[in-house]
Symmetry: C2
Subunit: 284 residues, 2 copies
């Protein structure tokens, strides 16, 4: 027999991966979690059937969500990570000895438990002494925080199901308040290519733009995500990722990365005209 995992990128587009072996399946309090092994992507897991992390290309997402803000402000010390149950974002953050504290708030403990078992590649730094895990709703957690973090990373699922609250104006407003006066907010920002994703991207952008003086969007090639064209949001109270990046400082750290480099940093903010148009028209 053959076993294929299929994700519907739209009603009319499917992406399928041949599965060698299903490794895990369960329903948590919040969502269905499945883990598979495949030849092409290694282990991968899905939440409610949607692709989250593959061993083959998780480095792209995690490089881009972490190193872009860290190269922009190397003085970041206190970080809040929301979502990110696989641990990949925390793994990249812990490579900076200058970071003192990482609060990670994941609503679904079962995701973390599953990733500890099946994704040691991403979950390997969740026990770093600087990391504090909270199994709570990120939306509620951030509400009580004020002037606390240098960086907030929203590493959420898509805005359907448990991730929905992390795309609201209330949430971004609370992030603003929880950030110090030179704080940076980075979020996974969906994709511009298929209409449903593009709408989510526009909504998120409109809301963030109303709150933060600096509001930019950058892109990466993530082939296991719908369309492979994925976006991230960079918002801040002062720092600009293009004028404030300190190439030399970041390169002198000697971090080995498989995707990110300081040229990519500068290049990834250059967006295609059709994406720029979608962003300008967001919420009109």
């Amino acid at each position: 027999m053959e076993l294929w995992y299929t994700e519907q990128h739209t009603d009319n587009v499917r992406f399928s991966i041949k599965v060698d072996k299903p490794l895990y399946t369960d329903q948590s309090e919040f969502q269905r979690i499945d883990v598979f092994h495949s030849k092409e992507f290694g282990n991968f897991f899905t939440l409610d059937g949607l692709m989250m992390v593959t061993e083959k290309d998780e480095f792209i997402y995690h490089d881009m969500i972490v190193h872009v803000p860290m190269a922009t402000n190397p003085k970041i010390k206190n970080v809040l990570v929301i979502g990110a149950g696989d641990g990949g974002t925390v793994r990249e953050l812990t490579r900076y000895s200058t970071i003192e504290k990482i609060d990670m708030v994941e609503i679904d403990k079962m995701v973390v438990d599953v990733c500890r078992e099946y994704f040691p590649q991403t979950a390997c730094k969740l026990d770093d002494p600087r990391v504090q895990l909270y199994f709570e709703d990120g939306l509620k957690f951030v509400r009580s925080k004020e002037n606390t973090y240098d960086l907030i990373i929203v590493d959420s699922t898509d805005p359907f199901g448990p991730g929905e609250g992390l795309f609201t104006k209330e949430f971004y407003g609370n992030c603003y308040k929880a950030l110090k006066e030179d704080g940076i907010l980075v979020n996974q920002h969906e994709s511009p290519y298929y209409q449903e994703y593009a709408k989510s991207m526009q909504r998120a952008h409109k809301r963030i733009r109303e709150l933060f003086p600096v509001c930019r969007v950058y892109q990466a090639h993530i082939p296991s995500y719908p369309s492979g064209h994925w976006l991230f949001g960079f918002a801040s109270k002062t720092y600009d990722p293009l004028s404030d990046i300190d190439d030399k400082a970041w390169n002198s750290l000697g971090l080995k990365t498989k995707y990110y480099n300081t040229e990519i940093h500068k290049g990834c903010f250059a967006l295609p005209n059709y994406v720029l148009e979608l962003l300008v028209n967001a919420g009109e």
Copy 2:
């Protein structure tokens, strides 16, 4: 019933598009040609089952294969286009009033005939008076040319079947000879992500690098191609696409483009570390 077109991106990865209506199918002297209509991508056509052009995203490929060299050297007058039976590359070239002559060499006349019928969006400028069509093998055509073209664009299929000769050292060597002393060669350069494509990319890069003093690779997000992460090669005898681009001159032309802009031009040459490594190790 449901009808789905499926392309195997690897033995273990499939990309499928729901087909509203098959529009055409035939076997030419060289390859099988199929045209379909779909909700998500509009009309699209395949050669030997591999995706070539979709109405939804052909603008990305054609913008990037044409405007990058044209913005680097606005004095380009004589152009040779190899392959490109759909006409999209010629369409973009004809937007430059400064171009005087375009030789287009497509081995398979049936591709052009089919595209004239089903893809007026791309084939619309094939009758421009500056365009001369040759239905010949590009490999043979270019052999007899010397010091003739300012720009050669190799808009070929993948290096399996009829496109194979367009990835050989002999072919690139003949392109070098056919170019004037400040000539530019741009070619579709496959993808770095799945192994078989990455090998083709490495082979092409190694061969071009041995011939041209300037040899760079740039990338674009083309969701209908395998992995969505697609590369182009830029090789030349003198021009460097980053130091020689004249933003102001290009922007003053007032060309409306849906993907390309001069910021993308500068950003698209910044490649991920894993791609840089594949290129450095090409042919070792």
